[in-house]
């Protein structure tokens, strides 16, 4: 089967023959895998080659494509960078893949401090444009190469969320092609389609709907083609790029920006410091990173990484509590001086010893090396993350770490490392992320899928909040436990907006589909 010829002709007339193809070569090249974010795991078994690839350039073209899909009952999936490969692959045959890379507008309203971006714009592009104007956004853990629009819908977490909150709360105006092909404009766009200034607009605020519950709708609720996002005032001295690949970094203007590393006596002191820094309302970022990131930073290649990392032990990892703090003198050099004074006072009180820090930024201001996560083992996935309280992150880190031992190998030996957590909103929330690494060619690779289920059950049993309800996890396992019955709500909303079920089916229940089809999951499916 393939796309009906008549439908293909209609699509071709919308974008022009240069921007559409059903050639198997092009369709195969647009199929993610075999490696990537999730695509080395079980869910890849339900991924399909698209039946057609199309590149719209305007919202109107997207609308016409979606309407055509509805007329001919053809499923479609939108992608901007396709970085989250497992989510960016069709799960049904003969779907149309809309690649949104041509939608690359990036206009900044300097005075009102927001940017209007198309779905093809990535973070480092936006950050540079913002910084040219004395503004900034936050580069998320997903990496500098992720789409700004997609990431704002999803979550958008970064150590710099400490002051700015997560990205999905910084959405302003939205231009959204619904699964039916109608265009919905949110915020001030609702009454003036050129005015992206205001997020709330008139009437009900539907930004919650676009974000979904967990984490985003992954293309199953139509296509956001344009969005305005908040920017923030930066300090005036632009960091200077330096070095040659792979050793590139931003040279920080040290009178305005500095990273600090502290070795804390124990984990309790890390938590206390996080709260105290938040209470003092200082800093621009506060984070406790997994220890193996230090080994990554020191190593020249993966072989060296393992030489360094395998010298660690449960004891050495437990004893090493590193807290990283970023201070920025946003308003003046004196602000940084003041904040440094407060920070050092806090650290003195808590026994934090200042360690050496580079006068540069390799990650977070403009660059985030998420792709580097694949360097050590060849495979990586983030099967657990959430935004809750600092104490929640600590407790969950201990449990995740203990549970992980049952799945190591195939997971990388982590010597009890308890994950990555960082403070948001001046200590009012914390991001917790439990990163896991594996060799995609490991004979026991299916155990990584079992690990995902074990984590979901851990969350349910311990009543932990999780941001991964319907991605990497079966909706019908987590749904009844959260909400309650949030799965029913999600599916009902989806049905209401997408009666033909064409927008990236079977998301949000794609993980369930994989679990039902995979032989190795049958044994553990008890819900």
């Amino acid at each position: 089967m393939s796309i009906p010829k008549e439908a293909y002709r209609v699509l071709e007339s919308i974008v022009g023959s240069e921007f559409i193809s059903e050639d198997p070569v092009d369709c195969e090249a647009h199929t993610p895998g075999p490696n990537g974010f999730e695509t080395d795991l079980g869910i890849a078994t339900i991924m399909k080659r698209p039946g057609c690839v199309i590149f719209p350039s305007t919202t109107e073209e997207v609308q016409k494509i979606v309407r055509t899909c509805n007329r001919y009952k053809i499923p479609f999936i939108p992608v901007s960078t396709q970085w989250w490969s497992g989510r960016g692959a069709p799960k049904v045959n003969d779907a149309i893949l809309l690649d949104l890379k041509r939608m690359d507008c990036c206009e900044i309203d300097e005075r009102h401090m927001y940017a209007v971006v198309g779905s093809g714009i990535i973070y480092s592009q936006l950050q540079e444009e913002a910084m040219k104007r004395g503004l900034y956004t936050t580069i998320p853990g997903g990496g500098s190469q992720v789409g700004v629009v997609a990431n704002h819908i999803l979550y958008g977490s970064s150590p710099l969320n400490y002051r700015t909150c997560i990205a999905n709360r910084r959405i302003l105006g939205v231009e959204w092609v619904l699964p039916s092909g109608e265009i919905l404009r949110l915020g001030s766009l609702a009454f003036n389609k050129d005015d992206f200034l205001w997020g709330e607009g008139i009437g009900p605020d539907l930004r919650g709907l676009i974000r979904g519950f967990s984490p985003g709708w992954m293309g199953s609720m139509g296509i956001v083609t344009k969005m305005s996002v908040k920017l923030f005032p930066f300090q005036p001295d632009k960091p200077i790029p330096t070095g040659i690949s792979p050793e590139t970094a931003l040279e920080l203007p040290l009178s305005r920006m500095r990273w600090y590393n502290f070795i804390m006596p124990d984990k309790g002191a890390v938590v206390k410091a996080m709260y105290e820094i938040g209470k003092a309302e200082i800093a621009a970022g506060v984070t406790k990173v997994p220890l193996f990131w230090r080994a990554i930073a020191k190593a020249n290649n993966k072989e060296e990484f393992w030489e360094i990392w395998d010298k660690e032990s449960e004891e050495s990892v437990a004893a090493m509590n590193v807290l990283r703090v970023l201070l920025i003198g946003f308003t003046s050099e004196r602000q940084l001086e003041y904040e440094e004074g407060v920070l050092l006072d806090i650290m003195e009180e808590l026994g934090g010893k200042q360690a050496r820090t580079k006068p540069t930024d390799e990650s977070w201001i403009k660059n985030a090396d998420s792709a580097g996560m694949w360097m050590m083992c060849g495979g990586y996935t983030s099967l657990e993350f959430d935004f809750e309280a600092i104490d929640h992150a600590i407790e969950k880190g201990v449990d995740c770490s203990a549970l992980k031992k049952d799945f190591t190998p195939p997971l990388m030996r982590a010597y009890g490392d308890q994950g990555w957590f960082q403070v948001g909103d001046f200590g009012h929330v914390a991001l917790f992320e439990f990163l896991t690494y594996h060799d995609p060619d490991d004979e026991e690779i299916h155990k990584v899928d079992e690990w995902a289920i074990a984590l979901a059950k851990l969350n349910i049993n311990k009543r932990y909040y999780t941001a991964q309800l319907a991605s990497h996890k079966p909706l019908f396992l987590t749904g009844p436990a959260y909400g309650p019955d949030y799965h029913k709500w999600m599916l009902r909303i989806k049905e209401e907006f997408d009666p033909n079920n064409l927008s990236n089916p079977p998301v949000p229940a794609d993980y369930d589909m994989f679990v039902d089809e995979a032989e190795w999951m049958k044994e553990i499916k008890d819900w």
Binding site: S21, D23, P24, V25, D26, E28, A29, H30, T31, P34, N35, G36, F37, V53, F55, T81, W83, D99, R102, D104, C106, I122, Y123, S124, Q125, L126, Q127, E128, E129, K132, G143, S144, Q145, P241, I244, S245, P246, E247, T248, A249, N301, K302, E303, E304, W306, K366, N367, D369, S370, A371, G372, W374, M375, M376, C377, G378, M412, D439, D441, D442
Partner: protein, 430 residues
């Protein structure tokens, strides 16, 4: 986890299966290093992906297609062969990938072309025709090989020197301004130069880069023998393609390392930098010019010495012995810039995509021959960037870059000047 035995040998594509399977589509091969990201304009590094949009024209897509071809999920077709050959092999993807993942992208793409030729589907007809010219007259123009040294005027070769000037096809037949300037510089330094004359064959870049391995190897073996017979130990080139081919691809073809070749290959810019340092040449003439420097891929990110490796790859992809990585870090970036900055009156202004992030001129990898429109389009993109920084002239170190830029400027009726660096050095030392 079973270990596998692998070699950095492009004649067997299976050696790069791991690299193809480990691509995560982070698109480090597409974007300018994020630290250096210039904004929403000039933000990508791959001409092919930008021009043709489809993933089949990107490094990540080609790796996927190569795997599909090896595993029988994809068949040869006109579209596939075009996807394989509409690429300059400029190495931007390779340097970008090695920012994070250390995958052997360039070698994978070379291996794919070699497979394509061995399977009877490559190269493109125009590239085949060029190979015939090389076979017949040992140069890319099919010009009589006896005329190779006809460019010589006042600066003549000498017998008593350990330097051989490997002139290259373009400077020998089409751009004598480069060979004459280079000869004048070599003589001005007091070191002098020898020539291989008719024994100099095309370096073989057009053959190697289009996957015509057997023919490339024949040429390489001939040139290596001629260099050895000359008794010279230093080979100077004024062409970035020749430089990279002699320094990197010859040992690569022969299963050796650059350090095992018995001769040293240097580009004119390395020679001049050294001679300036030693005071053997001085820049006397003033050149009032606002110029920008274009990093030729083959002198820059592609030019690190080749280190042959074979060994085991095991769990987590760990190699034993540790595989050497060529990441483009040590390309010749500083020398040409230092030289240009030393010329009195020359005002060097940088484009936004430089060094390992530079945008290719568009001519390499057989593209100029098989897809001239694409070559022109790529050059246009680069010239836009040069204009954006207000440059009056663009300087390069490769005759092929010079030709592609010059033709593109001519076609668009623009007025930017293009120089090979040898011309400016030659003028400055007069």
């Amino acid at each position: 986890m079973p270990e596998e035995y692998v070699k950095l040998d492009v004649t067997d594509i299976d050696n790069f299966r791991y690299d193809m399977r480990r691509c995560v589509r982070c698109k480090g091969c597409k974007w300018v290093d994020h630290i250096y990201m210039p904004g929403s304009k000039f933000s990508t590094r791959c001409p092919s992906e930008k021009r043709y949009l489809f993933d089949s024209f990107s490094a990540w897509g080609r790796l996927r297609l190569a795997l599909g071809l090896m595993d029988g999920q994809v068949n040869y077709s006109q579209r596939l062969v075009e996807a394989i050959y509409k690429c300059q092999l400029c190495g931007a993807c390779d340097a970008g990938c090695k920012r994070n993942l250390d995958l052997e992208i360039s070698s994978s793409l070379e291996a794919l072309r070699i497979k394509c030729v061995n399977d009877g589907y490559g190269p493109m007809p125009e590239q085949k025709a060029l190979a015939e010219k090389i076979e017949k007259e040992h140069n890319v123009f099919g010009a009589p090989s006896k005329n190779r040294a006809k460019w010589i005027k006042e600066n003549k070769p000498v017998d008593e020197t350990d330097i051989i000037y490997f002139v290259g096809c373009y400077a020998s037949y089409k751009m004598p301004e480069i060979s004459r300037a280079t000869a004048s510089i070599l003589n001005a330094s007091g070191r002098g130069f020898k020539l291989m004359g008719p024994d100099e064959y095309c370096c073989g870049y057009p053959l190697y880069s289009t996957g015509q391995m057997d023919k490339a190897k024949e040429v390489a073996e001939h040139n290596i023998e001629s260099i050895e017979n000359s008794g010279a130990r230093t080979v100077v080139t004024s062409c970035a393609e020749c430089y990279k081919t002699l320094k990197v691809d010859y040992p690569k073809m022969l299963g050796k390392s650059t350090s095992d070749m018995g001769y040293q290959v240097i580009h004119l810019v390395e020679f001049v930098e050294e001679q300036l340092g030693e005071g053997n040449i001085q820049f006397k003439n003033k050149l009032d010019l606002r110029l920008t420097y274009h990093d030729s891929c083959n002198l820059a990110r592609m030019s690190e010495p080749w280190v042959y490796w074979e060994g085991k790859r095991g769990h987590f992809g760990l190699t034993e012995p540790t595989m050497p990585r060529r990441r483009g870090t040590y390309g010749l970036y500083g020398q040409p810039r230092d030289i240009l900055k030393s010329i009195p009156g020359a005002d060097l202004v940088e484009m936004v995509r430089i060094r390992e992030n530079a945008w290719c001129c568009g001519a390499g990898g057989g593209v100029k021959e098989a897809f001239p429109d694409f070559a022109k389009w790529s050059a246009d993109e680069r010239l836009l960037e040069a204009k954006d920084v207000g440059a009056q002239a663009l300087v390069t170190t490769c005759p092929r870059c010079k030709e592609n830029f010059t033709n593109t400027i001519k076609a668009s009726g623009d007025n930017m000047s293009v120089y090979d660096i040898s011309e400016l050095i030659g003028e400055a030392i007069k």
